[in-house]
């Protein structure tokens, strides 16, 4: 799936979070942790992103446990491919930035 357009920060971090199964609240906490509290996902934004990712088949919801109504989500193979592409794209951005800005500490 060649995806040339950039992912949003929220989507990139949600997909990274879902390499392990998580429910909504867990994703929100994990994204805050990963970004060092720079990025706080609001609940409405997170819900919209999860719905779209489910539709695209980049994530799937796990069959719910009987004692919990909270849905858990996990990344799919297609989703991992998207993350891989985005990683390469970001790497290119960083490397070109480094070359031109001239910082050697990357």
């Amino acid at each position: 799936m060649p995806e040339s357009t950039a992912l949003t920060e929220a989507v990139y971090y949600i997909l990274l979070s879902l390499y392990e199964p998580m429910h909504g609240y867990g994703i929100m906490q994990n994204v805050s942790k990963l970004s060092g509290d720079r990025l706080t996902l609001a609940a409405g934004t997170l819900y919209g992103a999860l719905s779209t990712l489910l539709e695209r088949g980049w994530i799937q919801s796990l069959p719910g446990e009987t004692n919990s109504r909270k849905k858990e989500y996990v990344i799919t193979a297609a989703g991992k491919q998207v993350v891989q592409n985005e990683y390469s794209r970001l790497k290119e951005l960083i490397e070109n930035g480094a070359k031109i800005i001239g910082r050697a500490d990357l």
Binding site: G24, T40, L41, A42, A43, G44, T45, R69, K70
Partner: protein, 187 residues
């Protein structure tokens, strides 16, 4: 003690409405229920809650809305009440700043939902106005007397109301335009 306040906010002034509800909450007047131009407050701890409003895609009783609202409830957000497709949420201020949307795209989606509703309502009312004006014309064509026919009046009323929606949603369209411009250069 309960206090009922009647106040009118237009569909385009939901951010003003939000602001007002938060000012009330800061004073210890906590919103507990809503209705048509009606707000029910209870006295409580000042500044305990932050309120946010959202226009949903469907009525709150719709399965999609139920799934969404229960997702928010799992995140510590209370569903205070709703009026038609407008839903009133709150979260404890102790949990930090509360927003329903955290990026430009999801804010754009919400603003667009509001402008779309406004356009649909304008269109429906404009069609009704045209129909009534048509009736009025054919009435005058077939009657030589009788000024007391209501069609012309209805036509005028519907025209005025139809024109009202684009007018009152100006703040939303302005915010939407600013965000769309911002998105050209930023996520």
């Amino acid at each position: 003690m309960k206090h009922t306040v009647h106040k009118v906010f237009s569909i385009g002034a939901f951010e003003k409405e939000e602001q007002w509800l938060n000012q009330m909450a800061a004073k210890g007047m906590i919103l507990t229920d809503v209705g048509f131009c009606k707000y029910v407050f209870e006295e409580g701890l000042p500044g305990k809650y932050i309120y946010r409003l959202e226009l949903l895609n469907n009525l709150p009783s719709h399965a999609e809305s139920i799934a969404y609202i229960s997702f928010l409830e799992d995140m510590g957000i209370d569903h205070v009440g709703s009026y038609l497709r407008w839903v009133y949420f709150r979260r404890k201020a102790s949990e930090g700043n509360f927003d329903l949307f955290s990026d430009i795209d999801s804010r754009i989606v919400h603003y667009k939902r509001i402008t779309t509703l406004s356009s649909v309502l304008t269109l429906v009312l404009a069609i009704l106005a045209v129909v009534y004006f048509g009736q009025a014309v054919s009435f005058f064509a077939t009657h030589t007397s009788g000024f007391f026919q209501p069609f012309l009046g209805y036509g005028i009323i519907f025209t005025i109301v139809a024109a009202l929606f684009p007018l009152v949603t100006r703040p939303v369209r302005k915010s939407l335009k600013a965000l769309l411009k911002e998105r050209w250069i930023r996520e």
